[in-house]
Amino acid sequence: MTAPGGAATGRRRINLFGLGRPLSRERGNFTWVYLWSAPIRATHWIAAACVVVLIVTGFYIGRPYFMTSGEASAHFLMGRVRFIHFTAAAVLIMAGIVRVYWLFAGNQFERLPALFPVTPKNVHNMLRTAGAYLTFRPDKQPSLVGHDPLQQYAYTGLYFMALVMVVTGSTMYGQSNPGGIIFRAFAWVPLLLGGLQRVRLLHHVLAWAFIIYVVIHVYFTIRSDYVERVGRVSSIITGGRYISTDEPYEDYDINQVPAHQWPTPEHPNPKKEA
């Protein structure tokens, strides 16, 4: 079936590296499925904003790259930067708590088991994805509605990285109130790592890991949109993406599940309901 704006007209469009090419619905029957519930999307963007704020303020705290002059009493630059850093961290922790709740309340793509694709088939799919990336053959990627295992491991890894950041950051934050709840709750961290300076170093190293992560994450999502044309980037805004109804999916049996049972914003988990 040819969608409106088929190949003939599409090829006459402005075609910068193929970015002006029409969407792939021209190549068969596509339908829009709902994948990411509102809490997932909200926490994603809240966390993204927090990470940007935390990186900018964190690098100032680690190495103050500009200074004030005059009387100290007239300024509170480092004080404010630290306040913003701690506030952003608190917001990130709140987002993390919502995410943890949604590990149990979410749909099949969001629940706890989805975070750990460990079956041999998953491992095989992970290698397939890596192979497809290395050989520039998107057609060799496994056909999945949700995250592919390589992608999922990256996201699960990010959750753990964020957890280590929260633990090391809270440890340092607690030092200003010795004997306080936070100080005591994280007293094991300096003992485990061998001193506060090591805690500081780990926090700093992981900040760089976050920067590198953001570079790669943004690249692969945009690349996916360019290559696959199923609206992966917009799925974290609108909640859904397009899937072909002509091809089989390994993690979602589109032929077994009637169309009225596909996930929608109103019924994100129709299988569970049924």
Binding site: T68, M78, D139
Partner: protein, 381 residues
């Protein structure tokens, strides 16, 4: 200074009687007790209580072992803030055995130590400065033909409590830093069955030692300690949170090199590697040499000497973060992190270019079908 007293503290004489015989006024004694009460965080009202307790103290015996060390801790103790009574108190209690201060020498003082330990068995306070080398049978520190480990074990046997004074006595300090050639350890690693209080620092502040001893004499037990065994009255707060330069930290005013204008203005030493944010010590309050000054007050960043393993974890002393080892050149984490980030960006750019190239080539190949008909391509892409 601490010299063997001409006025021996005789057996059965209380401290009050002894002070009287040495011409120390009641007023000076109560003043000293009040100062110690404040130092212990008990408030000035506890001064009379301490005075009452100290008055009735009978001659306390202290054995002071100096092992693998530089004698800096004893030098620090000699500079206790109150020059009369603090010295006097230490003079009195350390009379039995102390290498640096005792007048005698040789077999005679070893015999004196043995008799003092035997006479006060189970009652004396053992002060240890210096670490205990364990490699090669402990030959790196031998006093009177006996190893440090042997001496500590013997002295700890009859000790009521142990004061591990200084970083060496707690964890080994500089001689225990990597690679620790002599296998230096602290008292806590040798003695497990006696209460040990860690008077941390390299060296510690004399007043902290004096106050801890007074606490023991007054209350009959060691003061409350933190997770490193340090008395909470002294080591509860971070240097960073008590620092006289803290206002400059909060304002964002930092020394960037030791000869810049900021250094002259006395701004915060954070950027030149101050470890105040990671160090628990009373330095900003007690200060040194009769409250003359302290390292940060003199323009030097804190090196974190009250924290365990500070030679390994707090170095470089003039940098914010530890060096990352395992590289031929000691690289800072920021250099490595930036290099990896640039590498990731370059890798991503290369991958993106290759993706675009292969996609365009594939699309050109698949678009060879007649343009008027429906598309039959099936590349799943």
């Amino acid at each position: 200074m601490m010299t063997p007293s001409a006025y021996a503290w005789t057996e059965g004489e209380t401290l009050a009687q002894h002070f009287e015989s040495r011409g120390v006024s009641r007023r000076d004694f109560v003043k000293f007790c009040s100062e110690i009460a404040v130092a212990l965080g008990l408030g000035i009202a506890a001064g009379p209580r301490i005075a009452r307790a100290l008055e009735s103290v009978k001659r306390p015996s202290v054995i002071w072992l100096q092992l693998q060390e530089c004698t800096g801790c004893v030098e620090s103790v000699l500079r206790t803030a109150d020059p009369t009574i603090g010295d006097l108190l230490l003079d009195l209690i350390s009379l039995d055995y102390n290498h640096t201060l005792m007048a005698g020498a040789g077999a005679a003082v070893e015999r004196a130590k043995q008799s003092a330990m035997a006479a006060n068995k189970g009652k004396y306070v053992l002060v240890v400065t210096g670490s205990i080398p364990t490699k090669e049978g402990g030959i790196y520190t031998v006093v009177g033909g006996r190893t440090a480990e042997d001496l500590v074990k013997e002295a700890a046997e009859g000790a009521a409590a142990i004061l591990a004074v200084g970083a060496c006595a707690h964890w080994g300090s500089v001689q225990a830093a990597r690679p620790n050639p002599t296998g230096a350890v602290g008292v806590r690693d040798i003695i497990k069955n006696r209460p040990i209080v860690n008077i941390a620092g390299c060296p510690p502040i004399g007043d902290v030692i004096t106050a801890t001893i007074v606490h023991y004499l007054t209350f009959g037990r060691l003061p409350a300690v933190d997770r490193e065994g340090r008395p909470l009255f002294a080591y509860r707060e971070r240097i960073h949170d008590q620092c006289s330069r803290r206002a400059h930290f909060d304002a964002g005013q930092f020394v960037e090199s030791f000869d810049d204008d900021s250094a002259r203005k006395g701004w915060c030493l954070y950027s030149v590697g101050c470890k105040g944010p990671a160090t628990f010590s009373p330095c900003p309050i007690f200060q040194w040499n009769t409250r003359t000054n302290w390292p940060i007050g003199a323009g030097h960043p804190c090196i974190g000497c009250t924290e365990p393993n500070f030679w390994d974890t707090m170095t470089p002393f003039y940098g914010r973060l530890p060096n990352v080892g395992g590289f031929p050149v000691e690289q800072r984490v920021d250099t490595i992190g930036a290099a990896l980030a640039i590498g990731a960006a370059a890798g991503v750019a290369a991958h993106a270019a290759a993706t675009v190239f292969t996609q365009i080539r594939r699309r050109k190949a698949t678009h060879q079908v007649p343009e008027t008909g429906p598309e039959t391509e099936n590349d799943d892409g």
